[in-house]
C-alpha cells in the first residue's frame, strides 16, 4: 500500500498538523454549508478526536455552523482546516479534516460523496463510489450509526 501524507497545514503555514495515523480514504460533501465554507468542493478525511497534533493552534478560528458542529480555519490566510462534531456523545470531537490541507492527496481512496442531492449539476466527479442524499444522512444520524457524521 502506498504511504499517504500524515502532515498538512494552511496556505500561509501558520497552522500545521500531524496525524497519528496515515489516512486511507476521503470523501466529498456537497451540502450548502460546505459549499459556502470551502470556495470549491469540500473534501474531508475522517480523523478521530485524539488523532491530530496541531502546531500554531492559536491561529485557528472556529465558527459554530450548527447545533452539532463547528468549522475551523486559519485566521491569517482563511484556509479551511476542519469540520468538527461538538455534540455530546462518544463521537464528540470527531474531525472531518479538510483534505486539501494535506501535504499530498496521493494514495487516498475517494470512497464517498454525501449530500449528493445538493450538488450543482454543472460538475460531477468521475468514477463510482458510495453516494448519500441528505435524507439518507439524516436517517443514519437518527439511527445513531457508528459512522454518523
Amino acid at each position: 500500500m502506498t504511504d499517504t501524507a500524515r502532515t498538512g497545514g494552511c496556505l500561509c503555514g501558520a497552522v500545521r498538523y500531524t496525524l497519528s495515523e496515515a489516512p486511507r480514504t476521503y470523501g466529498a460533501c456537497h451540502c450548502r454549508m460546505c459549499r459556502r465554507f470551502s470556495g470549491g468542493i469540500e473534501l474531508g478525511v475522517e480523523v478521530r478526536p485524539d488523532g491530530v497534533a496541531w502546531e500554531g493552534e492559536d491561529r485557528i478560528r472556529t465558527f459554530k455552523s450548527s447545533e452539532w458542529a463547528e468549522r475551523g480555519f486559519c485566521d491569517i490566510c482563511g484556509s479551511s482546516l476542519f469540520w468538527r462534531l461538538i455534540a455530546p456523545g462518544p463521537m464528540q470531537g470527531l474531525l472531518s479534516l479538510s483534505a486539501g490541507s494535506l501535504d499530498s492527496l496521493e494514495g487516498l481512496d475517494f470512497d464517498i460523496e454525501v449530500y449528493i442531492d445538493h450538488k450543482p449539476t454543472t460538475y460531477a466527479f468521475a468514477g463510482e463510489r458510495r453516494q448519500m442524499t441528505e435524507a439518507q444522512i439524516l436517517e443514519m444520524v437518527r439511527a445513531g450509526g457508528e459512522d454518523a457524521p
Partner: protein, 155 residues
C-alpha cells in the same frame, strides 16, 4: 447574464452581483487546494464594478503571491474570492460560486492547472483543460502589460 445574491456562512458578508456571467472555472493548483481545503477551487470571473459586498469590514484579505490575494469572512471562514492585487489589479475578480444562493445556469467551462491535479479525482465532461505552463503564460502576458514580472511560480 442575470442578477445573483449570496452570503457567507454566518451572514456577516453579503454579495449582490449584476450581469452575472454564467460560466465558472475550476483550478486544481496546489495553492487553491490548500486554501479551499478541498478540490478543485471554483470561481466565476465577474466585473468588480458589478459586485457589491456588504459587511466588508468582516472580509479578511490574504496576499497569496506578489500579484494576487484571496478574500474570506473573518467570522466564519467562508471563502469569497480570488483577485489580482496591487499593480496587477484587473477589472475582474474570481467569485467563489459556493457563496451564491443559487448557482443554476452557471456552467463549468474550463479547468486550469490540470497537470497539478492529484490523480485521486477527476471531473467528468469535456471542456478545455489547460496546464500550469499555459495558465502561467496567460498570467505573464497580463503582468507584462502591467509592467510587472513574475517572481515566483505559484499563484
Amino acid at each position: 447574464m442575470s442578477r445573483k445574491t449570496g452570503q457567507c456562512l454566518c451572514g456577516a458578508v453579503r454579495v449582490t452581483v449584476r450581469n452575472m456571467p454564467l460560466r465558472m472555472e475550476a483550478c486544481h493548483c496546489a495553492t487553491c487546494r490548500r486554501w479551499t481545503g478541498g478540490a478543485p477551487y471554483l470561481g466565476v470571473a465577474v466585473a468588480r464594478a458589478d459586485v457589491l459586498f456588504t459587511g466588508e469590514d468582516d472580509i479578511g484579505i490574504y496576499r497569496s503571491s506578489g500579484w494576487a490575494e484571496r478574500g474570506f469572512c473573518r467570522r466564519c471562514g467562508a471563502h469569497l474570492f480570488f483577485r489580482m492585487a496591487g499593480a496587477a489589479l484587473t477589472d475582474n475578480l474570481s467569485l467563489c460560486p459556493g457563496i451564491l444562493d443559487d448557482v443554476s445556469g452557471i456552467v463549468l467551462t474550463q479547468e486550469m492547472f490540470i497537470d497539478q491535479k492529484p490523480d485521486v479525482y477527476d471531473l467528468t465532461g469535456e471542456r478545455p483543460r489547460i496546464t500550469r505552463a499555459e495558465a502561467l503564460a496567460l498570467l505573464d502576458e497580463h503582468l507584462e502589460r502591467k509592467g510587472m514580472e513574475r517572481t515566483s511560480d505559484h499563484d
